[in-house]
Amino acid sequence: MAHTGELAMTVETETTSLTADCLLAATCNLGRRKILQRVMFGVFRVASGVNGLALAVICAFLFYFGLPALSWEFLTAAPRNMMTEGGIFPCIVGTFLLSFGAMLVAFPLGVASAIYLNEYATNRRVVRIIRLGINNLAGVPSVVFGLFGLAFFVTFFHFGVSILSGILTLGMLILPVIIGTAEEALRQVPNTYREASLGLGATKWQTISRVVLPAAMSSMLTGAILGLSRAAGETAAIMFTASVFYTPRMPDSIFSSVMALPYHVYVLATAGTEIEKTRPLQYGTSLVLIALVLGMNLVAIWLRARLQKKR
């Protein structure tokens, strides 16, 4: 009897000391765990800072070396003297034509696709297949789009190396961007809008065209701007289909070839007659290009933030 009591007591003391140990260890551990957390969070913070740093460094270098090259003449004159002097006006015009043209092709197609996916589609199988197609199209490398444009528009349809071929190729390339943002815009229109309209006796199409689309239009425009900027910065897709090394003529129809900013940067930087001498021109052209592209993106981001605030 006494024996068991003794045993019980030892067990008890052992447990208490054990608990104390555990507690002590746990608090120690908690300290260590907290330190680990702080260190790791610091690492994460640095990692996300690296992205900002990369963006800042690229932009800073281009501004630093590009700004001195910018002048009114640079923006409004044509290249001269084997492209070692003069400006980039034809390239700016070419880039504008190509990206706005691509937008005109892709926007209606993309919005209509999004309308089908978000408003009409009932068969999940069909939706899944279409989605798979869109995702795959989004993943096709731009140089493959270039090859396709060369084989399909330039050769098969005999459009030649022209604005038209470039517009169509770029249009296909930005289609997934437009569809994605248009779908997002449609999803944000509250269902009560649709129900109210249908309840008043409107047909599905009347509901979509008079209620849903107007409500979603401003968000869709954000997507349009993003598509525009993507098309403006694209190089590989237009190098076989629309843009040429150098052309003395300004484009006069959709069948003429053009110069474009991104391709001009590439040409000057790698294949020019005097690569070192034209460095200022290269920096200047790059600066104009990123100013254009980042400017459009900033507008899109700002627009989106404003729309979100309104909601």
Binding site: F41, R45, K204, W205, G233, A236, M239, Y266, Q282, L294
Partner: protein
């Protein structure tokens, strides 16, 4: 009247379906035309020699169209860039979704988006004129235009893809899971590593695969920065010539519908199949492990 309205509605619906199918049609056309212009090379050059031949001398006589060095270059550049981009992208995503205050988030997110928007030719130009001489100096190597340089530049192009998709995945992990873990006494860090990350693995892998697919298909950067030597790299400072670079650089000089032209299209087919594989894998993972709510985890 009602009947007329109904037929009209039906017609409108089928019109939209036709347009929605256009993406698939474009994809099919891309495939058809790539194969049409690429397959003729196999009439004069065997497939196995094309894929595994170690010599790419398209203009010598007789020409050699072994794309193995180009393939190796593409894979090496993608692997090295992923080694940089995956940790960076996922860590940024965790920071944005879990740690950052809303105000910080509002600053960092646009930065990542702007990084994604930078035209590839500008990144290539930057790598060529700034990074290349810099690498040449500090590592004391023959040329700064090499695999490593291209990989760094590509990494910053795939970080935004990896980051935004991973962030969505992490963000959509239900709050109950976090709360349960914190209530059991885990620290925030332990909750992230042992609960949130396992719960969002499928989303993160989707992002990683899509980021890699972007890296393997990216053209201008590897064209301008990778160095352009068609050989199998033995160190990360070797110049390489990945597939997209080869296509972009040689297409202008290749005689129309000559063997070289066909070989470049066939390279395009290989590239296309690679990215398609990546995309289907990503889609499969995303679809199979769709997070619907706490109950499915």
């Amino acid at each position: 009247m009602a009947l007329k309205r109904q037929t009209k509605e039906k017609a409108i619906k089928s019109t939209f379906l036709m347009i929605a199918l256009s993406s698939i049609m474009v994809l099919a056309l891309i495939m058809i035309f790539l194969f049409m212009e690429g397959l003729p090379i196999f009439r004069v050059y065997p497939v196995s020699k094309f894929l595994f031949g170690h010599l790419w001398y398209p203009t010598s006589d007789p020409p050699d169209f072994g794309i193995f060095p180009l393939l190796a270059g593409s894979l090496a550049v993608t692997a090295v860039s992923s080694a940089i981009a995956i940790p960076l992208g996922v860590m940024t995503a965790i920071y944005l979704a879990e740690i950052a205050r809303p105000r910080m988030r509002q600053c960092v997110k646009p930065v990542v988006e702007l990084l994604a928007a930078l035209p590839s030719v500008v990144i290539g130009f930057f790598g060529m004129v700034i990074v290349a001489p810099f690498l040449q100096d500090i590592f004391d190597i023959a040329t700064g235009l090499n695999l490593f340089n291209a990989a760094i530049m590509l990494a910053f192009m795939s970080v935004p893809t990896i980051c935004s998709i991973s962030e969505d995945a992490i963000y959509s992990v239900p709050g109950e899971l976090r709360e349960a873990s914190l209530a059991l006494g885990a620290t925030h860090w332990e909750t992230i590593v042992r609960v949130v990350l396992p719960a969002s693995t499928s989303g993160i892998s989707t992002g990683v695969i899509l980021g890699m697919s972007r890296a393997i298909g990216e053209t201008m950067v590897v064209l301008m920065v990778a160095g352009g030597a068609a050989m199998i790299p033995t160190s990360i400072f070797d110049p390489v010539r990945p597939m997209p670079a080869s296509i972009a650089a040689e297409m202008a000089e290749a005689p129309f519908r000559g063997d070289h032209y066909y070989a470049l299209f066939a390279t395009g087919v290989v590239l296309f199949l690679f990215t398609m594989l990546f995309n289907i894998a990503a889609d499969h993972i995303a679809e199979k492990h769709k997070q619907v709510g706490a109950a499915t985890l």
